[in-house]
Every structure is written in structure tokens, then in C-alpha cells.
């Protein structure tokens, strides 16, 4: 039994090495790659923007953008930081969840929910160019 598994693992490793010989070097990428990766990111930013203005994220029709046009006053560059109202150092996504539960009267998202990632991507994109200011109130 153990032998069988070890044998299979060996074959898998050997295959990976052979395939790897034909793959490109890890540190080489082209302008096309950069564009593609940026577009991948921007498509998630777009999803985040759609969620930001959505009346369906919470239960009362209130959207994030009602209080935070262009995600202003969210200060992503300052997180993680001590959020005195929550009594500890928290991430931006903790504050997003607080807003979902309170002004939007909805449910918190799982912290790795793709919707959460999309909203963080959008908020951070709107704040591009601003210097990091970790911990700043």
C-alpha cells in the first residue's frame, strides 16, 4: 500500500520535472502578460464598484456609495489600524463588514469571500497614488 503511493508520487514528480523543462522561466514576462494581469485586476475592481453601488448587498436598499462616493473616507492606506470603536487592530474588511451589518442592515461576508476581495480591490484602486499610512487615525 505504502509502496504503491510512493511509486505514484515518484511518477508524478518525474512528470512535473519533464513538463517543467518545457515551461518558460519564472521571472520572464512580457508586456502582454502585464496587460493581461492588470485587466484581470481591473475586472475585479469593476465587480467591486458594482457591489459598491448595489442596493442588494444589505437588506434595506442602502448602498456603500451613498455615504462613500468613489469610496472616499474609507482610508484603505491606514489599515490594519487600531479602530477604537472595535477595541483592537482590525483590517479594512472588518470595517466593510461593520458597514454591511449596520447602515446596510445586512449579513457580514466571509473574510475571503470573492465579493469582499472585489470591494477591497475597488476601494484601493480609488485610493491609488496615496502613500501608505499604517495605523493612522
Amino acid at each position: 500500500m505504502t509502496k504503491k503511493i510512493a511509486g505514484a508520487a515518484f511518477i508524478a514528480t518525474a512528470l512535473a520535472v519533464v513538463v517543467g523543462m518545457f515551461a518558460v522561466d519564472a521571472d520572464e514576462f512580457t508586456k502582454e502578460d502585464l496587460d493581461r494581469w492588470h485587466n484581470e485586476y481591473m475586472s475585479v475592481v469593476k465587480e467591486g464598484r458594482e457591489l459598491w453601488v448595489s442596493a442588494d448587498l444589505g437588506t434595506n436598499g442602502v448602498a456603500c456609495a451613498q455615504c462613500h462616493p468613489n469610496a472616499a473616507n474609507t482610508h484603505p492606506e491606514t489599515y490594519p489600524k487600531f479602530q477604537q470603536q472595535l477595541g483592537g487592530v482590525v483590517a479594512l474588511r472588518d470595517m466593510i463588514n461593520w458597514c454591511l451589518m449596520n447602515p446596510l442592515e445586512g449579513e457580514a461576508l466571509e473574510l475571503d469571500d470573492p465579493k469582499m476581495v472585489a470591494m477591497e480591490a475597488y476601494v484601493t484602486w480609488e485610493r491609488r497614488g496615496v502613500e501608505l499610512a499604517p495605523g493612522k487615525h
Binding site: P69, A72, Q85, E126, R127, R128
Partner: protein, 358 residues
């Protein structure tokens, strides 16, 4: 009906103690004119954004803001001569929203003047609003002051009449403050012609106070803190000695002086908006004179919202901001410097940390 009156009396009893503790601006009015009978105050409530969920349900948070403003305004002593509601009573201009808002406003014990906001207008172009509150623009005289109300949230005809397949979509597109599909506000030629004629009969030394929903100045186009034909309206006001423009829409303390015109924004009862300078991608024309309101603490639902008491002195207004969950502010015209100034914080050395926005 009787029951409601009774509960209001109980509320007022409790409110008396509250007023003493939180220093509502009672009895703070100074003499405005040589003739004492001409002294007066008025109250200003704005941007309630009453938002319908479904059936008989409305967003509780925004309801509470308006209910509180109405209750506190009813407690004012001395009594204001009238109340102005500065626009955006509704969120999406629907009958349920306008009816629910109008019902709350009907508790006011004073005469009320209403200003049109874009959230009231773009569903049916102000038709139902008019049934409730009257004409979109008008003027009147009160104790030596000429008051004017404009509908400043109009926009290009093509955008209003041709671009959108439904009225609902048109409303939604204009309701998003940061929506790039929106369109700049304007007063328009028809009202400018009306205003020119209206002002012909007014003496140049008569104080003029003009109410609009959007600023009659151009601050930041991206959020429509902007009126496209602002300069043309300002030009009509230029011949007068004392002119003040009071506007809503921006949900924040703002004030400015352009030539002979003082500008004052009012708070929303619903929610505060960020200062445009805190949007990193924005190109703005910020009135440097303004000492900003404190940064809002979202954990206090009513923080950075409120309503105003306004008194007339030397033909210019003194604006007292009644801020929920925050220290009240007063901005009034300083005849020595010829501009509105905060009575406590105008000196840069007097500013406090929460007034820094980023």
C-alpha cells in the same frame, strides 16, 4: 390624534432638560436691524433622503434624522418665523417617499418653504413634489429681506428627455452622486430670465437671501458640488449690497465668499458626505475659507448630520449648525473682513484634529 399630542407633550418635558444640557441655540439672536420688529430667525432642514424599502417600510436611519430635526425645530425659542426644507426629501422621488417625508414635515409648527432637490425631481420631473409643496421657483419678501428659491438641479434637455429609456432609470442615474452617467446641475435660461425680472423691482440695499439645492458656485464637478451656470446667476446678484446663498446637497459644512456673495451650505439630516479633497483622484476648486466639520464617527448614527438656525444681522446671515452627537458650530458674516467666518475655529491656531480630512 389626541394621543399623539399627549406623547409630544411628554417628549417636550424631557426635551426641556435635554435642551438645557446640550445648549440648543435658544435666545441667542442678536439685533439685526434698527427696527426691533424686523429681527427674526428661521430654521433650515435639508437632505432627509427618505428611502422606501417595500410596503410600509422605510430606511429607519434616515427617518430618525428627519424626525429629530422636526422635533428640535419645534422646540426653538424664540420661535423661527419660518422653516426652509432644502431639498432631497426623497431618495428616488417616489410617491411613498415624498408622502412619508411630507407627513413628517407636517409636524412642523411653522410656515414651510421647500427647495427642489435632484432626488425629488428626476422620476417625474417634480410633478408630484409640486402637488405637495407648490412651485419649483419663487420669491417673497419678509421683514425687509428679499428671499428667492431656485430650482438649481436642472440639466441639459437631451439628458433629461432623450437619453434614458425609463423615468426610473433616469432617476437612478442622477441619484448616484459619483455616477459618471450623471449630468451637471444648472439653473437654466428660463429661471435666470425670471430672476432678472424678479430682481428689477428690488432696491440695491435690500438684503437678498437665495435658496438653492446645489451650490451656485463650482467646487467639484464629479459629485455635482457644482452649478454649470453659477457665474451667470452670480452676475444677476452682483448689483446688490448684501447677498447670501444657502444651499444643501453637499451634506457638510461649507462656506465661501465670492465678490459680494456669501455662500453657506447646510447639513443633511440623513448622512454626511466626505469632503471632495478626500477623494484622491479628484480635481477640485475648494473654498479655502471653510473650516471643515469634524470627521464623522460612523458608530454614532447621527454624527455629522444636523439642521440649522439662521439669524439675520446687518443683512447677512449667521448660521448656527445644530450637530447631532457633536459640538455645535456657528458661522457668521464678519463685516470687518467681509466674509463668513466660524466664530470659534476660523483662526488656524484654533483648529482641532478632527477637522483634518484626508
Amino acid at each position: 390624534m389626541r394621543r399623539r399630542n399627549h406623547s409630544r407633550r411628554d417628549f417636550l418635558k424631557g426635551a426641556g432638560a435635554l435642551a438645557a444640557a446640550s445648549c440648543l441655540p435658544v435666545g441667542t439672536v442678536k439685533l439685526a436691524f434698527a427696527d426691533k420688529r424686523k429681527d427674526f430667525t428661521f430654521a433650515y432642514i435639508s437632505d432627509a433622503h427618505i428611502q422606501h424599502i417595500a410596503g410600509a417600510e422605510f430606511v429607519r436611519n434616515w427617518d430618525r434624522g428627519l424626525i429629530r430635526a422636526v422635533a428640535e425645530t419645534n422646540m426653538l425659542n424664540p420661535k423661527p418665523d419660518f422653516v426652509v426644507f432644502g431639498g432631497d426629501l426623497a431618495q428616488l422621488g417616489t410617491k411613498p417617499e415624498l408622502d412619508h417625508g411630507a407627513e413628517m414635515l407636517s409636524d412642523l409648527k411653522y410656515k414651510m418653504y421647500c427647495v427642489m432637490g435632484e432626488h425629488d425631481y428626476y422620476l417625474d420631473l417634480g410633478e408630484y413634489w409640486s402637488e405637495l409643496f407648490g412651485p419649483h421657483y419663487y420669491s417673497w419678501d419678509h421683514k425687509g429681506v428679499h428671499f428667492v428659491t431656485l430650482n438649481s438641479i436642472l440639466t441639459y434637455d437631451e439628458w433629461t428627455h432623450e437619453r434614458w429609456p425609463t423615468a426610473e432609470q433616469r432617476m437612478l442615474e442622477m441619484a448616484g452622486l459619483d455616477n459618471p452617467n450623471g449630468s451637471p446641475f444648472m439653473v437654466g435660461e428660463e429661471q435666470r430670465n425670471w430672476l432678472r425680472k424678479d430682481l428689477e423691482k428690488v432696491k440695491k440695499d435690500t438684503p437678498i437671501v437665495l435658496f438653492s439645492h446645489s451650490p451656485i458656485q463650482r467646487i467639484y464637478k464629479g459629485w455635482n458640488f457644482w452649478t454649470e451656470d453659477a457665474e451667470e446667476v452670480q452676475a444677476l446678484l452682483k448689483p446688490f449690497d448684501d447677498v447670501t446663498v444657502v444651499y444643501g446637497h453637499v451634506h457638510q459644512i461649507q462656506y465661501n465668499q465670492i465678490d459680494n456673495i456669501s455662500f453657506h451650505a447646510v447639513m443633511a439630516t440623513a448622512w454626511p458626505w466626505p469632503y471632495p479633497e478626500s477623494y484622491a483622484q479628484a480635481e477640485i476648486n475648494w473654498p479655502e475659507l471653510t473650516v471643515p466639520m469634524n470627521r464623522a464617527d460612523p458608530f454614532f448614527e447621527r454624527d455629522a448630520t444636523g439642521w440649522q438656525t439662521i439669524d439675520l444681522e446687518n443683512g447677512r446671515i449667521g448660521m448656527s449648525y445644530n450637530l447631532y452627537d457633536n459640538t455645535n458650530r456657528t458661522v457668521k458674516y464678519n463685516p470687518k473682513t467681509g466674509r463668513p467666518e466660524d466664530t470659534a475655529f476660523q483662526d488656524p491656531a484654533k483648529r482641532i484634529e478632527p477637522q483634518t480630512h484626508f
